[in-house]
């Protein structure tokens, strides 16, 4: 297990830095309180207090860990205070949005590769769509969809899709165009139709590009879903936890939701990586 030592070292360094930052950032409050109460605190007392405040500027790692434990393992999944429950809400929007975004991205890429007019026109729009801050457009999407009677999962999924289709389009256009001239000529000598060329050559050739795009798209989907939860009144989901936490100064809750989101993203991207390894190995394209 040679790989373990470097990882442990990095994690330890991050934790040390985190604790140091927590002490530094929370100390002002501790001293302030001490002055008001008229007590003199020793350095050890100050440090001890900075790591156990209820609403610290920066919660210490063990506080976040305790909160995570409390809201995942100790609570029932159906509880509104369970992080697993909220992550599940976000996950369902993420996955639905990811599916819509991926399908739309692949469809657009196929259109771009096969149709000259689309080739010239779609990409600038796709790029323009990504330059609009999602935080600005997300409430519009929610409001517009709500006014036509679409509520709940779908508006959030739509924002997810809005973010995740882009990397798929870019990657798949490149992937579908990756077969070289010789490969395309070969199919021309068979008088293959463009549909046959797509299925037998372009699609399989694009797999490495697809998986790379999916990883980026998945992370973007999760961000989209969380952002989509903010303007809905922050009722449910990781985004709601973040927003509620910031309303009430619950920094520990914010940090645990952030870490929950990060773990979720890592798990999802890891799953895609696994699918990628299996698929490409089966296709003889593993590198």
């Amino acid at each position: 297990m040679k790989g373990v030592l470097p990882i442990v070292t990095i994690v330890a360094a991050i934790l040390a830095l985190w604790y140091a930052a927590a002490v530094g950032m929370n100390a002002a409050w501790t001293r302030d309180q001490a002055v008001r109460a008229g007590v003199e605190l020793s350095l050890a007392e100050v440090v001890a207090d900075t790591l156990h405040q209820e609403r610290p500027k920066l919660p210490a790692p063990h506080q976040v860990a305790a909160e995570l434990w409390d809201t995942t393992v100790a609570k029932k999944i159906t509880s509104k205070r369970s992080l697993v429950y909220h992550a599940g809400i976000t996950l369902s929007a993420t996955l639905l949005g990811f599916a819509i975004g991926t399908a739309a991205g692949i469809a657009l890429a196929i259109g771009i590769v096969h149709n000259r007019a689309m080739d010239m026109s779609v990409m600038p729009w796709a790029i323009a769509s990504q330059t609009i801050p999602i935080l600005a457009i997300a409430p519009m999407i929610i409001v517009v969809l709500n006014s036509v009677g679409v509520q709940g999962l779908l508006p959030k999924a739509f924002i997810s899709a809005y973010l995740s289709f882009f990397p798929v389009v870019v990657g798949m256009v490149k992937g579908l165009r990756s077969p070289d001239a010789m490969q395309l000529d070969l199919l021309k000598t068979y008088n293959a139709s463009s549909v046959q060329t797509l299925w037998k050559l372009r699609w399989p050739s694009s797999m490495p590009y697809l998986f790379a795009s999916l990883k980026v798209g998945m992370a973007a989907s999760l961000v989209g879903a969380i952002v989509g939860e903010l303007p809905t009144g922050a009722v449910r989901g990781l985004g709601a936890r973040l927003l509620a936490g910031s309303y009430y100064g619950q920094t520990v809750q914010i940090w645990s939701a952030l870490i929950g989101a990060a773990v979720l993203a890592a798990a999802l991207v890891g799953l895609i990586g696994l699918a990628q390894r299996i698929t490409l190995r089966r296709m003889g394209m593993a590198r």
């Binding site: 010789m182 000529d185 199919l187 008088n191 037998k200 003889g284 394209m285």
Partner: protein
């Protein structure tokens, strides 16, 4: 263009219509540096069952000519007919199999799967696909390798599989663009021998691009010598060698004489200094 037939074999009297005929073929590519004349006034007839090699230095248009025959490139002047059709009609009627310099097998398909590719595209039935794949794999000595994947095979075997793929749908014409160019000499000798045997068994008409004089002389019934700038035919040599050719025919005086004439033709074409 001189087209003397001093080494003519037993003279094809009342010859049937040629399988491939090019008349006054011109092809000019428009490039960023201005027009490049790839082919100029190319005339050639290929009879059924011929093994025709195109030889010349790079830039002489031999590959371009083969691509024109295949309908992958379109002449700017003159005409080419394949099986009595235009090259595009011939391509659409799948009149020829084409072998490229690289085997170009799909890594995600087994050898049998790769050979099956044209059959799937052309809509052969499952049973017939199976049957044909087995037959052509046997023809190129790859019987039993159908379940292997390309990366499990040597370069020579991969190229044989690509030949099997070109043979699978049983077109009368086989066009080969430097198919053994990337292989070492020992493998190349072996494949040349196998190709001749395959040609004898199937009676196909073969167009073969190469830049190796021994390969051209050893394989061909007709050698087309080409030269560059502009790409044109400088000599067409009918080989006096018998169709049955063991490898050691390459040490006979007849063989050396043909090779000598090819070399002369190539030298004559080099009007520029290099």
């Amino acid at each position: 263009m001189k087209q003397e037939k001093i080494l003519c074999s037993d003279g094809a009297a009342d010859a049937p219509a040629p399988v491939i005929a090019a008349r006054g073929l011109d092809l000019t590519f428009q490039t960023g540096d201005g027009p490049v004349q790839a082919l100029k006034d190319v005339n050639l007839e290929i009879e059924k069952g011929d093994f025709v090699s195109f030889i010349g230095p790079s830039g002489c248009g031999k590959t371009t000519f083969l691509r024109v025959i295949a309908g992958l490139e379109h002449p700017t002047g003159g005409a080419v007919s394949v099986n009595g059709m235009t090259s595009d009609e011939a391509r659409r009627s799948r009149a020829y199999g084409y072998v490229f310099q690289a085997a170009g097998l799909y890594p995600w398909r087994s050898i049998a799967g790769n050979v099956r590719l044209p059959l799937e595209i052309m809509g052969f039935s499952r049973a017939e696909q199976q049957e044909r794949v087995e037959k052509v794999l046997q023809l190129v000595d790859l019987a039993g390798f159908g379940k292997k994947f390309p990366w499990q095979l040597s370069g020579g075997m991969q190229q044989r599989a690509s030949i099997a793929r070109a043979l699978a749908f049983d077109a009368d014409i086989l066009l080969m663009d430097e198919p053994f160019g990337a292989l070492d000499e020992i493998v190349r000798d072996h494949l040349n021998e196998q190709l001749l045997a395959l040609w004898a068994r199937t009676g196909k008409t073969i167009g073969f691009v190469t830049h190796s004089i021994p390969e051209a002389v050893y394989l061909s019934t007709k050698i087309v010598v080409m030269s560059p700038r502009p790409g044109r035919i400088t000599d067409v040599i009918e080989s006096p060698l018998p169709r049955e050719r063991p490898l050691d025919i390459r040490d006979t005086p007849e063989f050396l004489e043909v090779a000598h004439r090819v070399r002369q033709g190539l030298r004559a074409g080099h009007a520029y200094d290099d």
